[in-house]
């Protein structure tokens, strides 16, 4: 537990992705089974202990600590697991030897006596404290029932120091928030054992924690695990942006690019699973799709929701966001934002892997397959029937569907291969929209940009002549421009609200964005999708920036 606690502690304070990766790689290489497997499962939120919940932890604390002191502390700290970890009473002998050693007490025995006194409280002696392993903790928590959980958790907490208690409680309750996605964990595994990340992605979801066969394979101690009859994830085939060139439609098929989330639905071993692009399982958020997908197959498609405004057709990404990131879904959610999948590829069907086949053949089989699925939840993404590239360009420019983000170009003779390979698939997004906005607030960035004001909130003019925020952007500019913007913020700060600087409303920024939607996030009632700074308009007076009304006309 000590190593795991140290890892969590480092991850919390480490902001760069590469540094996080290095920390996990080091941990995986130098920690034995099964601890490392449980640890990585905990980091990626793949563990659940139904008997241990935060209400139970609060109740347990109340048996050791005054409730009022707990309440005041919880209010200050803001997190139940951390409060409990810090408050859990421990024996004085394990808490550092220098304590109070210089106090010149006149009423109490000298500090040396206190220091050398044997432990009298419930805390365990020092040597036992570091011996609790992650797997022993997982075993104990898994065996817990509602009745036994408090005593089990208490005995584990007694064996740990404050950092260890924090790690244990986060492992037990979830909500680790250390910025480690499943994708990052898989990359760390691949890097640690020098294996292909595509292989790791396929195997990951097929093997339950603590992933012993996976580590055995990674370390060359065993064959690659067999995946028959398991609903495992196949790494996605990805596209390059189509920069300036054109392609010959004789070689490439064109499809609409939908503005939803890319998903893979897999049925295997009588189980259906939905995976997101990062290979995270999101089945729990879309139970209606899991229930409706009853064929032995693997599909690749876009998850969308139907919108009333769109007459039951696909709604904008904004509507879909209501359904994302949920562990359970209410009936109201299911009714208000009904999800469906627009299918564009078939990776396996009836036990046959179609990935080696060319797109043309997979497409032929896909068109035959989709009617086997419930039409209420699955439809086919149509091929755009353009005569030539110019015709396609025209259609792309004219597309007004809320859920269309652009065009996909797929090489007709290409097999389905993992990752982003040159020349096979291209994405050709709609030209971004732009608006001239006025910088209103600025904040410092993270990591390399910690000393720069690099995050900007900008606004447009209301009919009443008030500047209302419409978005926030922190990219799109060069390093030189960033230096200039940073200086502008420092020289033009009017007010400070904690980390936020309010600036003189004088600088016009041309902001590019993919689309704009109604939203409660900003006072303007608008929110941009993928906003970035496209130009700094030092030449333009702030009064001539765009009005909210202009942006409203762009809403899809």
């Amino acid at each position: 537990m000590k190593r795991f606690a140290a890892l969590i502690d480092r991850l919390i304070y480490t902001r760069s992705r590469n540094s996080k990766l290095a920390l996990i790689v080091d941990y995986l290489r130098h920690t034995p089974d099964p601890d490392r497997g449980w640890a990585i499962a905990a980091l990626t939120e793949s563990l659940d202990f139904p008997a241990v919940k935060s209400a139970m932890v609060r109740a347990l604390l109340a048996t050791r600590v005054d409730e009022e002191l707990f309440r005041l502390s919880r209010h200050f700290v803001g997190d139940t697991a951390e409060t409990a970890a810090l408050l859990w009473p421990e024996s004085p002998t394990v808490r550092g030897e220098e304590r109070l050693s210089l106090s010149k007490s006149r009423l109490e025995p000298p500090a040396a006596v206190l220091r050398d006194a044997p432990s009298t409280s419930s805390g365990a002696p020092q040597d036992e404290r570091n011996s609790l392993t992650v797997s022993a903790a997982v075993d104990a928590l898994s065996a817990a029932t509602r009745a036994t959980a408090p005593a089990i958790l208490a005995s584990l907490l007694d064996r740990l120091d404050a950092d260890g208690r924090y790690a244990l409680l986060k492992l037990a309750l979830g909500g680790m928030r250390v910025g480690v996605s499943a994708r990052l964990a898989k990359q760390a595994f691949a890097q640690a054992f020098d294996v292909a990340v595509d292989d790791v992605e396929e195997l990951w979801h097929a093997i339950p924690p603590p992933y012993a066969p996976l580590f055995a394979w990674g370390e060359g101690r065993a064959e690659r695990p067999d995946l028959a009859d398991v609903a495992f994830f196949r790494p996605f085939m990805l596209a390059h942006p189509l920069e300036d060139g054109t392609v010959d439609l004789a070689d490439y098929a064109a499809e609409w690019k939908w503005d939803g989330i890319r998903v893979q639905i897999v049925r295997g071993g009588a189980e259906t699973r939905i995976y997101s692009r990062g290979g995270e399982e999101i089945s729990a958020a879309f139970p209606e799709l899991v229930a409706a997908f009853d064929q032995d197959a693997v599909i690749d498609g876009e998850l969308l929701v139907r919108g009333e405004v769109q007459g039951g057709e696909a709604a904008s990404f904004n509507a879909l966001q209501q359904r994302l990131g949920r562990k359970t879904v209410s009936k109201k959610m299911l009714a208000d934002y009904p999800a469906f999948v627009r299918v564009y590829d078939l990776l396996a069907v009836d036990g046959n892997d179609l990935r080696p086949l060319p797109w043309t053949e997979r497409r032929r089989q896909l068109e035959g397959f989709v009617p086997r699925l419930a039409a209420s939840h699955f439809d086919l993404s149509h091929v755009i029937d353009a005569t030539d590239f110019d015709d396609l360009a025209e259609r792309r420019a004219g597309a007004r569907d809320a859920a269309i983000e652009g065009v996909m170009l797929k090489r007709r003779d290409a097999p389905y291969v993992a990752g982003r390979r040159a020349g096979l698939w291209y994405k050709w997004k709609r030209d971004p929209l732009t608006a001239d906005c006025v910088m209103m607030y600025a904040q410092r960035g993270n990591g390399r940009r910690a000393s720069f004001y690099s995050d900007y909130t900008f606004g447009c003019w209301s009919d009443e002549g008030e500047l209302l925020p419409v978005g926030k952007a922190y990219s799109g500019f060069t390093d030189e421009e960033l230096k200039w913007l940073d200086k502008f913020v420092r020289d033009n700060t009017l007010n400070r609200f904690g980390p936020v600087h309010e600036v003189e409303k004088s600088l016009v920024l041309e902001v590019a964005f993919d689309s704009i939607h109604a939203s409660k996030r900003h006072k303007s009632g608008l929110a941009m999708r993928f906003p970035r700074i496209s130009r700094i308009r030092r030449d333009k007076p702030a009064e001539e920036a765009d009005r909210i009304a202009t942006l409203l006309a762009m809403v899809t």
Partner: protein, 337 residues
């Protein structure tokens, strides 16, 4: 015996000792002030006469140009004091920073101690806290919640040295309050055997020199502004917290941002400050030190000032100790804890 309220009045801007017509740590200029220590939220400029330890007066002279030699300003060594309006004042070590003192007041057979800020653990830069028996004990409560338990200082210093050695191409920038914390971190590093030059922000230069002049050896200190960037790789730099993520830090080789403060105990606090290496080193008593000190002093009544008054008040209630919270204004708890 006189009722304490009749001769010591808590006001939002400080404590007023009525028979002596004197304020303790007032937050605005007054005619006569007794000052516990040199931090800006206790020692203000513009008082008519100041009563303090020689070290505190020296610090006030450095910061505000207070005239140490002027006859109306009086310096008192630990254990010494003066009498005014029938009140006997004396200064006793508080263990907070160089020169920090508790002030004991005796009047009409009653003893009141005001701690100012204090801590109980070892600090190579100042005299250790002394328990002074009294009837009314006025204690600070910066860390008056049981979540605050500072780890051993040596452990945090070892963490700092470990971080520097782990990445010799980078530097570690430690944010530490300019008076007290910065010198303590440096002295603790020296005690732990770190004998390389330590690079400091210009804002620390004079205070470090003042400490050295009082016999506290801080070793080889060099100014960042006079050093080449490359020479600071693998080295420790100490700066005030405000400089941590500011333009100033761009002159350092890829710094790891550390911060020495008791607030670093709480992870979210550390994250908010963009700290990569939190060091839980504080010049204030933690929860155990606060509660243990109240037990040791064993006063008839405890008054609690600045900090988490509610937590310590609750503890007193649970231990059947008479206590009340004073609500003084102008105490800056964030920066120097």
């Amino acid at each position: 015996m006189a009722k304490p309220k009749s001769w010591l009045e808590p006001h939002p801007q400080g404590l007023y000792v009525k028979p002596a017509d004197l304020w303790i740590d007032p937050s605005r200029p007054v005619e006569r002030a007794a000052v516990t220590h040199g931090h800006a939220d206790h020692a203000r400029s513009g008082h008519g006469a100041v009563f303090a330890t020689p070290e505190t007066l020296a610090i006030m002279a450095l910061r505000y140009g207070v005239d140490v030699a002027a006859s109306h300003n009086q310096a008192f060594a630990y254990g010494d004091g003066f009498e005014r309006g029938g009140v006997r004042f004396s200064f006793h070590p508080a263990g907070h920073v160089l020169g920090s003192a508790q002030i004991l007041m005796e009047y009409a057979g009653e003893r009141i101690v005001i701690t100012g800020d204090y801590k109980r653990r070892a600090d190579p830069t100042c005299a250790p806290f002394e328990v002074v028996p009294c009837d009314i004990f006025i204690t600070e409560a910066t860390f008056g919640l049981p979540v605050f338990r500072h780890p051993p200082t040596g452990q945090e210093i070892a963490k700092l040295i470990g971080a520097v050695r782990a990445e010799p191409d980078r530097s570690v920038l430690v944010g530490a309050y300019a008076l007290g914390k910065a010198q303590r971190v440096i002295a603790e590093l020296r005690a732990a055997g770190w004998d390389a030059p330590i690079y400091i922000h210009g804002a620390l230069e004079k205070m470090c020199a003042l400490y050295a002049a009082h016999g506290i050896d801080l070793g080889d200190l060099r100014l960042v502004s006079e050093t080449d960037k490359a020479d600071m790789a693998g080295q420790i730099i100490v700066a005030p917290p405000s400089a941590l993520n500011d333009r100033w830090s761009r002159r350092l080789p890829d710094p790891v941002t550390a911060m020495a403060s008791g607030w670093m105990r709480v992870r979210q606090r550390a994250r908010q400050r963009m700290v990569e290496l939190p060091l839980v080193i504080s010049d204030h008593a933690d929860w155990d030190e606060l509660t243990m000190t109240i037990s040791e002093v064993n006063p008839k009544e405890t008054w609690i000032t600045h900090g988490s008054e509610d937590g310590l008040l609750r503890w007193c209630e649970l231990h059947q100790r008479k206590a009340r919270a004073l609500h003084l204004v102008g105490r800056d708890l964030e920066e120097e804890a």
